[in-house]
């Protein structure tokens, strides 16, 4: 789109993926990001969903990727490493702030 809204909207899964990228810091590889989400949330996440979300986030300028050479274990296929950008940090902070603001004072049934 020709115009840019100053704060990009984050979907639920995009939010999780960005948090995983932040957690993994220098080890933000596709497989590791997926494992991080599966272990912490117990969600059944497919690698395809993770990669398409990462690509969408990259297009929004919230993460950037670099390509590394493949190893024998990877059949010499390249490896993509994802890092969060400043805009990504801001988007996560804003989304977290919104969630805190909306949840404050609420007692949710799922908490008990």
């Amino acid at each position: 789109m020709v115009f840019r809204v100053s704060r990009p909207y984050l979907g639920d899964f995009e939010h999780l993926v960005l948090l995983a990228v932040i957690r993994l810091a220098d080890a933000g590889y596709g497989l590791a990001i997926r494992d991080e989400i599966v272990q912490r949330t117990a969600r059944d996440v497919s690698p395809g969903a993770v990669y398409t979300t990462l690509d969408r986030l990259e297009r929004k300028g919230l993460v950037r990727s670099s390509v590394e050479r493949g190893t024998l274990a990877r059949d010499n296929r390249v490896r993509r490493r994802y890092e969060i950008t400043r805009a990504g940090h801001e988007a996560v902070s804003a989304a977290q702030r919104d969630i805190r603001a909306m949840s404050r004072g609420l007692v949710l049934r799922g908490d008990h």
């Binding site: 100053s6 690698p47 490896r79």
Partner: protein, 186 residues
């Protein structure tokens, strides 16, 4: 490699720039799982993961290629052109005949183009081309000059006004959306 079929599927469905990394991950995972659980189990798990990945990858690839090419841009431009032509009989009844309503219409079309997620520039160019050809044909028929109209008419002046009107609509919408975004984020 033990995963030829899965690799074939991924190459067919995943976006080209992601396929290699996804297949590499698959090979790495397969190797690790084969050591722990045996080849057959590793292969079954990997096949399951690939099959679950395919809908997301195929949909994403289709969406990207649809939105990022000339065909999409031309289709959008043709649709807008078609709608405008279909509306011609109603313009007079709506008091929308004449020069200024024409500029206003193009301004609105420019604003509509701004909503196309990608390739708005291509759609804009394609639409302008359509308008140019349509103007040339109309002028040629109206003045009976044939294709000499391309050399001896106000065609280019009119086209320039059309282009500016559309661009103004696009820029106005961009500015409005930008300001709205700023206000929201404060």
């Amino acid at each position: 490699m033990a995963l030829e079929f899965e690799v074939l599927l991924l190459n067919a469905c995943a976006p080209a720039h992601l396929a290699d990394a996804i297949i590499g991950d698959l090979c790495e995972r397969h190797g690790a799982l084969a050591e722990k659980r045996g080849e057959a189990r590793a292969r079954a798990i990997c096949r399951g993961e690939v099959l679950r990945s395919l809908p997301a990858l195929a949909t994403y690839r289709a969406a990207q290629s649809f939105a990022d090419n000339w065909v999409f841009a031309l289709a959008i431009a043709a649709l807008i052109c078609g709608l405008c032509i279909a509306a011609i009989p109603f313009w007079n009844h709506l008091g929308m005949a004449g020069g200024w309503p024409h500029v206003l219409r193009l301004f609105a079309i420019g604003a509509m183009l701004g909503y196309i997620r990608r390739r708005w520039a291509l759609s804009y160019a394609a639409l302008l081309l359509f308008i140019g050809v349509a103007d040339a044909v109309i002028d040629a028929r109206q003045f009976g000059t044939g294709w000499h109209v391309l050399a001896h008419s106000d065609l280019y002046h009119g086209l320039f006004i059309d282009a500016v009107s559309m661009a103004a609509g696009l820029i106005a919408l961009s500015a409005a959306t930008f300001v709205q975004g700023r206000v929201r984020s404060v």
